[in-house]
């Protein structure tokens, strides 16, 4: 009977431990990108919102493609992502109701200090990517349909280059921003990163910023409220409150107030763009 007693003890302990976790006040699920969550932005600003409204925000951090897919299945109440093309498709499919830009920052090309493609300091991102291509220097691609991945593919295409035809120097890792930076650091490779994740990333090894400041590298974060006609189960009112708060003066000030090492990771929507 010992086995049965052991099982009973397990069950009792487990039930006691799970139940307080499940007794929740009001909450919404925000499908968002790894860049805003891993960089610490959401951890910094969402508690302010929760304190003010009593609404807990549960963040699912995924790539933009996956976050939009999660929302289109009705599994999230609100979306915060950064891929203009994928967002437009999402809106056109009738999933989204209102889309609003709430913050921006920029992408950067990071690469090894040794800079085998000689791109350091270039101002033209297309020329820099062409140089990486010509040098066949190792390049890590997210390959996960995230906002960053979509931008990378757009940049190659803008210069009539097709990464599907690139050689073994082009490494499609199919992972998140952190995984891509870890891989690039380990292989001394170039990769595109959003500035927020880069600034809060702690395993840079030889990686430094190679190219920044091109207008084509601007990175817009949009919050999208879902269309209740298509998604009747979502918590529409609470989601609307969060969307409104993010765009409000208070929310924008909170975004502007998040810094790492004195550097602003995200600019509020109204900040002048370069």
């Amino acid at each position: 009977m010992k086995a049965l007693r052991l099982v009973a003890a397990f069950a009792l302990f487990a039930l006691c431990a799970v139940s307080p976790v499940r007794a929740q006040q009001s909450f919404i699920v925000l499908a968002s990108t790894t860049s805003v969550d891993n960089s610490g932005l959401l951890g910094h600003i969402l508690p302010l919102f929760t304190k003010k409204t009593g609404i807990e925000v549960r963040v699912i951090a995924q790539g933009t493609g996956q976050a939009l897919a999660t929302a289109s299945r009705g599994d999230a109440d609100l979306v915060l992502v950064h891929d203009p093309d994928a967002e437009a498709k999402f809106m056109a499919a009738g999933d989204g109701l209102i889309r609003r830009e709430i913050a921006w920052n920029d992408f950067i090309l990071v690469g090894p200090k040794s800079d085998p493609a000689k791109v350091s300091g270039m101002k033209d991102i297309l020329a820099a990517m062409r140089a990486v291509w010509n040098a066949q220097a190792p390049f890590v691609s997210r390959g996960d349909k995230s906002g960053t991945d979509a931008l990378e593919k757009r940049l190659w295409k803008a210069d009539n280059l097709d990464p599907a035809k690139a050689g073994p120097w082009y490494k499609d890792i199919g992972g998140g921003m952190g995984a891509a930076l870890n891989a690039a650091a380990a292989m001394d490779a170039y990769t595109l990163s959003d500035r927020g994740t880069w600034l809060s990333f702690n395993n840079r090894k030889n990686l430094v910023i190679a190219v920044e400041g091109d207008r084509r590298l601007l990175n817009y974060y949009d919050v999208i409220q879902l269309d209740p006609k298509k998604h009747p189960n979502i918590k529409r009112a609470q989601a609307k409150r969060l969307a409104a708060w993010l765009a409000s003066q208070e929310g924008q000030a909170a975004i502007a107030g998040y810094t790492v090492g004195g550097e602003k990771l995200f600019h509020p929507e109204a900040d002048p763009k370069p």
Partner: protein
């Protein structure tokens, strides 16, 4: 090597100051995995014993299937559960996706075959040895199940610990159906994935050390409890 020494120092520091955040993550990991083991043993203990003492058509295939399920890829189980539990799926109305409940479900699916298979193997031997006695007594076979489980309690303990090992170390399934939400569905293993992706390798490794220590402690506790009986 500095990575490793840093990780060990961090792990010790975390354990020493009894970090509240870490504690809640540990409690969630344990409660999810122990719940899964508890539910899976309610299925696996009787099922494993029954498979050993009953003969019926298709029994061999069923045993084969259970053993094959030991190799279930957690991500696939997670993905299937995700599609079922999603709002757009057939079980969406329960609102279980991205909750600890969903994580218990997927881990139960992963653990139940392990317990069933190990118990089945041990009960087969026990039944070969004691089966005749039961048959001579003329009692229905179902009455033999609890007796066999008591006779084979060491194997039962092994089955429970193996199941627990699978559950507590698993990440592929729970990160899909749990969503790795801070304070709600973030466990030891999903935290390790997250910290690795942030480049906090020493912290991730330190959490791994804490996880392994807890596993050792649980196994020690179980063996200690079981061992006391044999000594006394």
């Amino acid at each position: 090597m500095s990575d490793f020494s840093e990780a060990f120092a961090l792990a010790l520091a975390m354990l020493a100051r009894f970090d509240a955040n870490l504690l809640s993550i540990v409690v969630l990991s344990l409660s999810v995995s122990l719940s899964a083991v508890a539910i899976a043993s309610c299925i696996g203990l009787p099922a494993g014993a029954a498979l050993a003492i009953y003969r019926f058509p298709g029994q061999a295939s069923l045993v084969l299937l259970v053993n094959a399920m030991l190799g279930l890829p957690p991500v696939v189980v997670g993905l299937v559960a995700y599609l079922l539990l999603s709002r757009a799926g057939p079980l969406g109305s329960f609102g279980l996706l991205f909750t600890p409940g969903a994580m218990v479900i997927v881990q139960t699916v992963l653990v139940a075959p392990i317990i069933t298979a190990i118990v089945h193997r041990a009960m087969e031997e026990a039944w070969a040895r004691y089966g005749d006695e039961f048959r001579i007594l003329g009692a229905p076979r179902i009455r033999a199940i609890p007796h066999l489980l008591v006779i084979g309690q060491r194997a039962v303990l092994t089955a429970l610990l193996a199941g627990f090992g699978r559950a507590i170390s698993e990440v592929g399934a729970i990160i899909i159906v749990g969503g790795n939400i801070a304070g709600v569905t973030r466990t030891m293993t999903t935290t390790i994935v997250l910290e690795t992706s942030k480049g906090n390798l020493a912290l991730a490794l330190a959490l791994g050390i804490v996880l392994i220590s807890i596993s050792i402690a649980i196994n020690g506790l179980a063996f200690g409890l079981a061992g006391r009986k044999y000594r006394s």
